[in-house]
């Protein structure tokens, strides 16, 4: 017996911010159409322009609220990077240490060489 079709999940509702954004965009577009419509009186165009400007400022505020929320999320993500970064730095130091051991050996050998040269300069004991 064939399975009944699985009902599709309903689409996720738009966030409250997105809903407000859509509503403001509709007002903005209407205001823009009115202010650019030559059939409207100059007074009507000026009123539409004022509405367009004010709605734009409200949209700016919504964009900035989104940016502020994103800042919080970014800080949380950055904090989560810290343990991995520490491990990566430790790996880099471990790898560097291999070279540093050889550097130390070279420096000791050079030191011995210089010490012998200085002792010889003092003459026979």
């Amino acid at each position: 017996m064939p399975h009944p079709p699985v009902p599709a999940l309903p689409a996720a509702p738009a966030s409250p911010r997105q809903a407000a954004f859509n509503a403001l965009k509709a007002v903005l577009n209407n205001a823009e159409a009115a202010m650019n419509n030559p059939a409207n009186t100059q007074a009507a165009q000026a009123t539409a322009r004022a509405l367009w400007t004010e709605t734009g400022e409200q949209l700016d505020a919504l964009d900035q609220a989104q940016i502020a929320d994103d800042s919080v999320a970014l800080q949380a993500g950055a904090a989560e990077m810290t343990p991995g970064m520490e491990k990566l730095k430790a790996l880099k130091e471990k790898i560097s240490a291999l070279g540093n051991d050889l550097k130390e050996a070279a420096s000791i050998l050079t030191g011995i060489d210089k010490a012998i040269a200085e002792l010889r300069a003092l003459g026979p004991f």
Binding site: L59, D63, L74, A78, K87, L102, A105, L109
Partner: protein, 313 residues
Amino acid sequence: MIPKAFRRHKALYGLFGAVILCGLGAALCGCTLSPLATRAAAFSTAATATITQTTNAYQLVNQAYDDAQVAMLAANWDTTPFDAGKIKPFIPAKDLEVRTQVLEGLKQYATLLAEVSGNQPITDLETQATAAGNSLVKLQQDDFKGFKIDSQEKSLAVAAVAAIGGVLIEHERARALPGILDKMDKPVQQICKVLEDDIGTPDTPGLADALHRAYDRQIDAQKQFIKDHGASMSAAEKRTEIEALPKLVQGQRQADQALAATAKSLAALASAHAALTATKSQKDAPAFKLELTQLVQNAQAINGFYLSLSTRK
């Protein structure tokens, strides 16, 4: 009976023989970078380019917003009093600082990956081994008769030490890098997704909408300026002001495309890191190569957009 000097040299050559064999073995399995290290280095290069372009996107938004403020100020000068408090960048300083720091963190991660994965640690090791070898040769031969070493022997020893060091480095990488990539994937995915959504589109709250409307305001202010002052302009002046309009429209289109490409590039960066992590134990990784190719193409596209915008100004 074997002469004493010959016995001494024989022992020395035996020692070097053993070291050289170790070195050759090591060289065979260790001197070339592992596939994971090669991919990590490639990811790092592409990521750095994407991060740089993302920083440019923030500058573009703030610049367009500033330009819109100035254009509206000029257009409305006679009707609207000047308010110095309204002149400010679109992205608040504290939010810009967060993005700068997060991008700097991602860049540091990419750079560290490159440093750890690349050839530099092995080159450094070779440099130090050479320095140690030179010091051995410099030791006063009279005082160390039992430990005489010529430059040829030194070169062999240095090569062997460097090769063994290369194997040790590769071993450390192979042991630690996969775990680090696993640990970093979640925050990298999270950060890239937030940065992508932060840009958004002109139809969602975020930077792309702000940028698109900043151009709308500039276009409207320009139209208003021509309408209000066109009658008092000369024909040439009027022509210049009118010519600015299509340039603004074209600028808006390009700016929209630049931000869309930046968002796409951030998504590709996340995918490339996921592919890098998923293929950490694979010798060949075609999926990663595909992701990286896309990432590099996107970064180049963004670079082209920003370059064209900056040369237009």
